[in-house]
């Protein structure tokens, strides 16, 4: 066992700077496209309009916490229907499993906000400081006027992007144009300013400075994904059986057959946004952004060797290639049983949600019985119970409704706004647009009525009709004995 003298350790480990070189290629262009789409969705969505009539806001996607409504285009979700959102989150979770099963850590490499914003900030670095070598030179340069100017400029741009990111977030929670006006005039809610402040700070710190450390130290997802990868998962692979031993082009010319394809140009390391060396094998720092594949392919085409020295491959495929078989098509690799099972579950939940959404009722009756007192004796010996009924109207118009007693002989009902002399077998009310009308009702049954179940029946008195029926319990003296 080797036992060299350990180096003296400091209190902490400084972050080793990562200065990824600009690269172009197939995967870089995919990343550009995904960045454009994800950032576009994030920044633009709150500004889309959707006419719902005068009763509701006209913002296409709006989480209206104050009025407890969640609007997504033509769908309006009430708080008690939050399971739709839970369902969407479960779909998102299983979607991650599905993507991981099909194409490995693609979420980390392409679509994770941390990756997208880090990528954006790294382009700002290149724009202000220049590419990799210029960045390293500036990093090591003393703090002269030029460096101070460049740093100030760069961090200001970071700050503007961060502020814009935080600002876009709050637009999802209120009418965007109004909120922008209120924000600058100082009339917006304190929570709006606090949210923007917090999100600006986190974007600035996580995207501008923490970067790959978030993935390596903080994020649980790489750990979970590591557990989910198997020998059928696509991972970015350095094909060491083809590349080793490394040697320059000249060395290979002098000694044909003595070296592999890797010329040790270090381009794969230079372009890596997390600063790792893929040739050391699969590791937690690899977010599979595939930029090293682009870099290596460019080099291979320059020196006239076949592409794919670094490429997406599964462990199974690697073993087969090592044995001398030709590489398998990636499309074929994606469709294995686990992917199909995840897809089936994901699609089933999606279809279930769509079905539930299509068949949900827009009228509802909820009843809550008074428990104290459970029943009340009236002067004429009649027995009275009390309920709070909630008449729900989810339509975009007011609806006249009637609640009737069903299955309680001789019973009469009235409310807290009319006299018991006006009692009848039913009560009518108009429920305003998109609201719940709480109705306090008293139901009296003749003396001697035994405790029993009965039902309130709700009916809408308009062309569309529809209704609801809720069974409840009538308490009477002696019922508890």
């Amino acid at each position: 066992m080797r036992n060299p003298e350990p180096e003296p350790q400091g209190w902490y480990e400084k972050r080793r700077g990562v200065f990824p070189r600009q690269v172009d290629g197939k995967f870089r262009r995919i990343k550009w496209a995904i960045m454009l789409v994800t950032l576009g969705i994030y920044y633009v969505t709150p500004w889309l309009r959707w006419d719902r009539g005068p009763y509701a806001p006209d913002q296409a996607v709006l989480i209206d916490l104050a009025h407890r409504r969640f609007y997504i285009f033509s769908i309006e979700i009430w708080p008690q229907e939050f399971y739709f959102v839970a369902g969407l989150l479960i779909m998102a979770g299983i979607g991650l499993f599905l993507v991981t099963s099909a194409v490995g850590r693609a979420w980390c490499g392409y679509a994770c906000p941390q990756t997208v914003w880090t990528d954006l900030f790294q382009h700002v670095d290149r724009f202000i400081d220049g590419d990799r070598n210029a960045q390293i030179r500036l990093q090591n340069a003393p703090w002269n006027a030029q460096k101070i100017t460049k740093r100030a400029l760069k961090w200001s741009i970071y700050l503007v992007i961060s502020f814009w990111t935080g600002g876009a977030w709050i637009m999802y929670f209120a009418d965007a144009p109004t909120l922008v006006r209120d924000f600058w005039s100082g009339d917006a809610a304190p929570v709006a300013y606090a949210s923007v402040g917090v999100l600006t700070a986190t974007t600035f710190a996580l995207g501008g400075f923490m970067r790959e450390q978030v993935c390596i130290y903080m994020c649980p997802w790489p750990r979970i994904q590591t557990a989910m990868l198997d020998e059928k998962s696509l991972i970015v692979t350095y094909k060491d059986w083809r590349g080793e031993p490394r040697g320059s082009v000249k060395a290979a010319e002098k000694n044909p057959g003595g070296f592999g394809d890797c010329i040790d140009c270090n381009q794969c390391v230079a372009v890596c946004p997390t600063g790792i060396d893929i040739r050391e094998g699969p590791q937690i720092g690899c977010i599979t952004c595939a930029l090293c594949i682009d870099a290596c392919d460019n080099v291979m085409s320059q020196i006239g060797r076949p592409r794919g020295l670094i490429d997406y491959a599964t462990l199974d495929d690697s073993a087969s290639e090592k044995a001398g078989n030709p590489p398998t098509s990636h499309l074929k690799l994606i469709w294995h049983p686990r992917t199909l099972v995840y897809f089936a579950i994901w699609a089933a939940i999606g279809l279930g949600l769509l079905f539930a959404l299509g068949t949900r009722k827009h009228i509802d009756l909820a009843v809550q019985k008074d428990r104290n007192p459970p029943y009340m004796l009236l002067s004429d010996g009649a027995i009275r119970n009390a309920w709070t009924l909630k008449l729900k109207n989810m339509e975009g118009r007011p609806r006249p409704m009637t609640v009737t007693i069903e299955g309680l002989p001789g019973a009469r009902m009235w409310t807290d706004t009319i006299s018991s002399e006006q009692a009848a077998t039913s009560v009518s009310a108009t429920v305003a647009t998109d609201t719940i009308l709480p109705l306090r009702v008293y139901v009296a049954a003749p003396a001697g009525t035994a405790a029993q179940d009965f039902a309130f029946v709700l009916k809408a008195n308009d062309a569309e009709g529809g209704g609801d029926r809720t069974v409840t319990h009538f308490d009477a003296p002696g019922a508890e004995e």
């Binding site: 066992m1 080797r2 036992n3 060299p4 350990p6 350790q9 400091g10 209190w11 902490y12 480990e13 400084k14 972050r15 009025h67 407890r68 009430w78 708080p79 008690q80 923490m210 450390q213 130290y217 008074d370 428990r371 104290n372 007192p373 009340m376 004796l377 009236l378 002067s379 004429d380 010996g381 009275r384 009390a386 729900k392 009737t404 009235w414 409310t415 807290d416 706004t417 009319i418 006299s419 018991s420 002399e421 006006q422 009692a423 009848a424 077998t425 039913s426 009560v427 009518s428 009310a429 108009t430 429920v431 305003a432 609201t435 719940i436 009308l437 709480p438 109705l439 306090r440 003396a447």
Partner: protein, 313 residues
């Protein structure tokens, strides 16, 4: 304790502890972690300076901001009072009889009354206002002193038999048995008659003897048919409601030793708006009388409710 050594696979020194073969690598902390740690310390120091933090003998150090949970409560209460000021002013300006004409104000009054009831009234009348023996239920339709808004407000204001309030509801039933006005047998007969009014006892010979006694001794207040009288606060003896119990023994006991329950005059403790809100709440419990704009309803058809609430779920 094991020796410190360098781990072969990672090239990192171990901390030197070993538990059943499990060792710990002495990796340095990332610098950002250390910064976070320092920031937490700075926050804690700031917290100790501006907030109450260090416990002394009687209280803690007040802190620069002089914050206290009592102060925070007072601030929030003041803010809530400010929010309610317009509603309270409108309530103060509206005579209670006119409250039902303004459904939203009425709703606010009922809600406020519910809160005030829980503080001031539940001790006797119960959390559900169902009362108990000797403490009337406020849910039913039997009112000794009247059940419209105005009558309820007056009762709450001045109380019942409350010493020191000249306008208090006053009635006094003699203790017929205890004071020797009626013999025990006569009390028994009277009780039989009273119970026969609501069909609880058979209208036999005892009831007939009791009827005569009732006419001579009781009818002056309770009325010839025993239906009571609100002018004098005499309870209805012909209905199903018994404040002090409806068994034969209960009624005998009530005639022998009359009850005279007392309710405080709340005008001495509560402001007029709170009393108004309490009256509105009690009136809304299902037995209220005289509704201002009562819509008509026929047998079997629906009564119409003024739907004004836009309450969110």
């Amino acid at each position: 304790m094991a020796e410190k050594r360098v781990d072969e696979a990672t090239g990192v020194e171990t901390v030197g502890h070993e538990w059943d073969g499990i060792e710990e690598l002495n990796n340095p902390l990332p610098r950002w972690w250390l910064w976070t740690f320092y920031a937490c310390i700075a926050f804690a120091i700031g917290y100790v300076i501006v907030y109450p933090a260090i416990p002394l003998v009687h209280s803690a150090t007040p802190g620069l901001w002089n914050w206290s949970s009592r102060g925070a409560l007072a601030e929030e209460t003041a803010a809530a009072d400010k929010d309610r000021a317009t509603v309270l002013a409108a309530l103060a300006a509206t005579p209670i009889e006119q409250l039902p004409e303004q459904p939203e104000l009425m709703q606010a009054a009922v809600a406020g009354g519910r809160a005030a009831f829980r503080v001031n009234c539940v001790q006797c009348h119960g959390a559900g206002a169902a009362g108990s023996k000797g403490y009337p239920t406020l849910n039913d339709d039997d009112w000794v002193w009247g059940g419209d808004l105005k009558a309820i407000e007056t009762t709450i204001k001045h109380g019942i038999r409350f010493p020191g309030d000249d306008a208090t509801r006053q009635s006094l039933m003699p203790s017929f048995g205890h004071d020797g006005i009626l013999t025990p047998a006569q009390v028994d007969d009277t009780a039989t008659y009273v119970r026969s009014l609501s069909g609880k006892d058979a209208a036999g010979a005892g009831a007939q003897r009791g009827a005569a006694l009732f006419a001579n001794n009781c009818a002056v207040c309770h009325g010839p048919d025993g239906k009571g009288g609100r002018q004098v606060g005499a309870p209805n003896l012909a209905d199903a409601i018994w404040l002090y119990g409806g068994t034969h023994g209960d009624v005998v006991s009530s005639i022998s030793n009359a009850h005279a329950g007392v309710m405080p005059a709340w005008v001495q403790r509560l402001d007029p708006v709170t009393i108004k809100m309490l009256a509105a709440y009690v009136h809304s419990l299902g037995g209220g009388e005289k509704f201002a704009s009562a819509p008509t309803a026929q047998e079997g058809t629906a009564a119409t409710v003024a739907a004004t609430s836009n309450a969110q779920p």
